[in-house]
């Protein structure tokens, strides 16, 4: 081997090594989502992860919440096709919360007042769980993984011990089931990052002015109790308090529409103005500097089936509490401009050429 | 000469007539209070009413909350003496809440975290209910009435049907007992005005950052459920959300200290910086224009003895709710400058300014 070849070889080696290193440095993420489609805050958060070159998206696990799990899986498969990320497995999870139910919610409403939004149980939108209404954005050709979300989560954290971030944008049913099935999930996972709960905000609750009854957490309170009482290395929460400081306005959407990709076309066609609940949680994960105010609090949920059912409960750090209360880092404010810029940037990146689904 | 006397007499009679009419028109108020003393937000509220020429204070009914009812009575009597208003009767009421108890609160804290403040049950300051600790402001010479607070309320609303405002600055035990003893109290009262509850505020709760567990309502949630589910003609709520927008700062206190009366002297010596919880509620009653934002909401309280025990619950006016939910006008913001001015004005007025023909026999 002459010196040029030697240099080339060592350079190649270096490249490979650094790319392996780079690949090793990319945080591994499982996105657990109640992925309402098309183009909701749920879907947009998945797409931000899918578009980001800075994460290794291991898979998207789906849970009933905003919609039923089966239809959500279809919407997710289609969205991932559109951005050329069919390499990311979509895994169906829990169809129902642990304890809460449509029937119970109706009894509760009879006593405490009608809830404005109940996800898949909202009377105006209600349909049978296994029914998949036609997809306006086109039917997917890919299929979900032949594995339950809970098993997928367990498998991944064992495969990559200490590396996997569980990022949750919907009810916590899958994660609760996972940690009850395999308690090691808690210590093997790198951290838990989630959008959910509300503290002292008078908007966006499922009875609008009560931000403590936030939809994700209300849909499955018992799951939240299980998950928030577990011994994660780190818990980060994006609550309604910060969500309501953002807005996917027509103006913001038009910034995206200026670029033309299959993704931007999809968003232009199907996005609706709304708070950017889940997008904030993704952005803050990708770039924590967008968060300008956060607090460490003991955070959990009320599971008595009375007036407070499904409401966030919390106390300050420094209060004497029994051991089932755990500290979480709760985000309260953000740099909206920086956030919108990141959002626009990710959504206007070129989509990847279609890839074959990799075997996992 | 004769015509002079005639004119003077007639003038005096007209004056008296006006005074009587004015007196008759002065709103009648019962102050129901957990009057921690000396010089707390509780006592200040009583003093504002006592000093105001605009209201006819029928009496002060007391109950345990911030302190035990017995010591509160001593502090209240003394404060009224200093304000030259010993004509206002003081009645003692409930010593404990309907259901909540110090023991239960300790069990609860073991599960859900310890409170910063528990009124008379706070460990740091705890003492027997019958003990009246040393009173730096002096011991009163006047005494509390023999009549029970709830009985007084019942008697007054029957005596003045449709005229009496029940103003509550503490837990609602007395009022709950009164309306369970005599349901007509609800329809005979003119209205219910109270400081209590919290909605979406991250300060001022018994766990500081949880404004929904506000002390007055947390101390006796069952009483709140009884009171807030009753069909009052009108309910006005001054919650923690607005309290924390005010402060009895050194600056405000300095303005009060500029004038020299036994009352201002007392305040100068014993006032502490604090949110002006109860004072806002009084001020807004005397002059509703200080309130710059308010909402009509269905307001009540959680009475299941779990994680949310004692927390305010509320829904918007438009929501379909069963009949035990009642609408309340909830105050959310105020003109602080106007409010501080009113406070200073009232507190620096000469004692006995509020005195009228308070007959309560």
């Amino acid at each position: 081997m002459n010196s040029t070849m030697l240099r080339a070889a060592s350079f190649a080696l270096l490249l490979t090594a650094s790319s392996i290193l780079a690949l090793g440095e990319k945080p591994k993420v499982i996105v657990d989502q109640d992925a309402r489609g098309p183009a909701s805050t749920d879907m947009q958060s998945i797409l931000m992860f899918a578009q980001s070159p800075d994460v290794e998206l291991l898979g998207v696990t789906i849970v009933s919440g905003d919609q039923w799990v089966r239809e959500e899986a279809e919407h997710t498969l289609r969205a991932l096709e559109i951005v050329g990320r069919t390499d990311v497995p979509v895994v169906e999870g829990a169809q129902y919360p642990l304890i809460n139910s449509k029937d119970e919610s109706e009894l509760w409403e009879g006593q405490f007042g009608v809830l404005e939004f109940k996800g898949a149980w909202t009377p105006a939108l209600y349909h049978e769980p296994n029914l998949i209404p036609p997809l306006r954005e086109g039917e997917p050709t890919t299929k979900p993984l032949h594995e339950h979300a809970v098993d997928f989560i367990i498998r991944m954290v064992h495969k990559y011990p200490g590396q996997v971030t569980l990022w949750a944008g919907g009810p916590l049913t899958n994660i609760a089931l996972a940690i009850r099935k395999d308690p090691e999930v808690v210590s093997l996972a790198r951290q838990l990052v989630l959008m959910g709960g509300g503290f002292n905000v008078g908007k966006s609750g499922i009875q609008e002015i009560n931000g403590r009854r936030e939809f994700n957490w209300w849909f499955d309170p018992e799951a939240v109790r299980i998950v928030m009482s577990a011994n994660w290395k780190k818990v980060t929460i994006t609550p309604l308090d910060v969500s309501v400081k953002t807005g996917l306005t027509p103006e913001l959407q038009s910034r995206i529409s200026k670029t033309d990709t299959p993704l931007t076309r999809y968003l232009t066609q199907f996005s609706e103005p709304s708070y950017m609940w889940d997008e904030v949680a993704v952005a803050a994960f990708l770039d924590p500097t967008i968060i300008t105010d956060q607090k460490e609090l003991y955070v959990n949920i009320d599971i008595d089936h009375g007036a407070g059912y499904g409401q966030t409960i919390f106390v300050e750090k420094g209060t004497s509490v029994p051991s089932w209360w755990k500290l979480a880092t709760v985000q309260f404010d953000l740099n909206t401009e920086k956030f919108y810029q990141m959002y626009v940037h990710l959504m206007t990146l070129p989509v990847k050429a279609a890839q074959t689904a990799s075997v996992r | 000469m004769k015509s002079w006397i005639g004119k003077a007499t007639r003038f005096a009679m007209i004056l008296m007539a006006f005074a009587t009419i004015a007196l008759a028109q002065k709103p009648k108020v019962i102050i129901d209070q957990d009057a921690r003393g000396p010089a707390s937000t509780d006592i200040n509220a009583i003093l504002m009413f006592a000093q105001s020429p605009q209201v006819d204070v029928l009496g002060v009914t007391l109950l345990t909350g911030d302190q035990w009812v017995k010591e509160e009575a001593a502090h209240t009597l003394r404060a009224l003496e200093l304000a030259g208003r010993s004509d206002i009767p003081v009645m003692m009421g409930a010593q404990t809440p309907l259901v909540n108890s110090r023991e239960e609160s300790k069990l609860w804290e073991k599960q859900f975290g310890s409170f910063a403040f528990k009124g008379a049950w706070t460990d740091r300051t705890y003492h027997d209910s019958g003990l009246v600790p040393i009173m730096p402001e002096g011991v009163p010479t006047t005494k509390a009435s023999n009549e029970n607070a709830a009985d007084f309320i019942i008697r007054m609303v029957h005596k003045y049907p449709g005229e009496v405002t029940l103003w509550a600055g503490g837990p609602l035990t007395n009022i709950a007992l009164a309306i369970r003893l005599d349901p007509e109290v609800v329809t005979l009262s003119k209205q219910l005005v109270l400081m209590g509850g919290g909605f979406n505020v991250g300060k001022g709760g018994v766990h500081r950052i949880n404004g929904r567990r506000e002390f007055n309502w947390w101390f006796d949630p069952e009483a709140v459920r009884i009171v807030m589910s009753a069909p009052w003609k009108k309910i006005t709520v001054t919650p923690v959300d607005i309290s924390v927008k005010t402060r009895l700062s050194d600056e405000v206190q300095a303005k009060v200290s500029q004038v020299n009366t036994p009352l201002t002297d007392y305040l100068k010596k014993y006032s502490q910086p604090s949110y002006m919880w109860d004072e806002i509620s009084v001020a807004a009653f005397l002059d509703p224009s200080i309130i710059t934002e308010q909402k009509e909401l269905y307001t009540n309280i959680e009475i299941n003895h779990g994680a949310s025990y004692g927390q305010t619950i509320f829904v918007e006016k438009e929501v379909k709710v069963p009949s035990w939910w009642k609408l309340a006008t909830v105050q959310f913001d105020l003109n602080t400058e106007k409010f501080y001015r009113m406070y200073v004005e009232l507190m620096t007025a000469p004692p006995s300014s509020g005195k009228g023909n308070t007959k309560t026999d």
Partner: protein, 356 residues
Amino acid sequence: MHQLNLRIFVVLCLFLSSLAPSFGRTESSSIDSKSTSVQKVIFDTDFSVPPQDDGTALILALKSSELKILGVTTVAGNATVQQATFDALRVLEIAGRTDIPVYQGANRPWMHEKTEFATRVHGKWWSDEAPPPPPGGFAKKLPETESAVSFIIRTVEQDPTEITIIAIGPLTNIATAIRQQPGFAKKVKKIVIMGGAIASLPNGGGNVTPNAEFNFWVDPEAAQVVIRSGIPIILTPLNVTAKTDFSKQWFDEIIAADTPLTRLIKQTMGPFYEKHPDVHSQMYDQLTVASLIDPTLVKAQDLYVDIDINHGPDYGTSLGAKHPWEGGEGAVKISVQYDVDFNRFIEMFVKRVSAK
């Protein structure tokens, strides 16, 4: 027999007889030992004329010289408080006991709101409808103007540790007195309560919801306040009333005597037994009163008891156990009756109720 043997024999007999279980030996405090002096009582009731059990319970009390009834206080429960008041006045009139004043009390429980279930299942505590005339028309005498709670507080305050309260309806009045008057609880001698059902003992099911007994279920918060008040309590729960049995047989015996009160009983219960001669009923309130008059009629034990006041499926359920339990840290030790010598009880009951 040798004298020594005789002595030994006598001692042995005494020893053996002391081992035999007997009614009246309780595992609880001496608060219910048979008293020989007259007991001053306040009779708190959600009254209606017979066949409601309060009806004959009051008659039993009236016919018992061991009790001096200072006043009857009424509460909403089985009937509206208005009906309770006027039915009680009428029965007192028939009994020739218009010397006993009647004080009207709470027209509703503290917290429990009217529900469709409540209107179906039993009782009129959720209603304020005008009372129907009692048999024979309204009594001439009116109720006192003083309220029940006021009377209860005044009576106990004036005679501390001397007054026994008989509570055979929801506990609303008693709880209100406790909360309105500081120190009241310490001054009550004792309270005998018809209420509750202890699930962990035999016959512990409820009679209105699966686990709850009616009196406690109507006002669970008041029940909890009274149970936890520190007043010495004797509880007559469904567990023991299940061992009572009133039937036509006893009705016939009672009306065989001819008194104004038995004539009332015949009038109000006769037609029912004509149609349903085989019906058996429990004697809830009657046993409560009888066990106060003669505690040897029942067996009782001390248990930690609490009331579930969460508004869920067990609202109003009483829970009892020998030892405290998780979640039941507020439970308080009281005396709970669990067995009765029915033969002696019914004999005493029939005799007194039919007495002139």
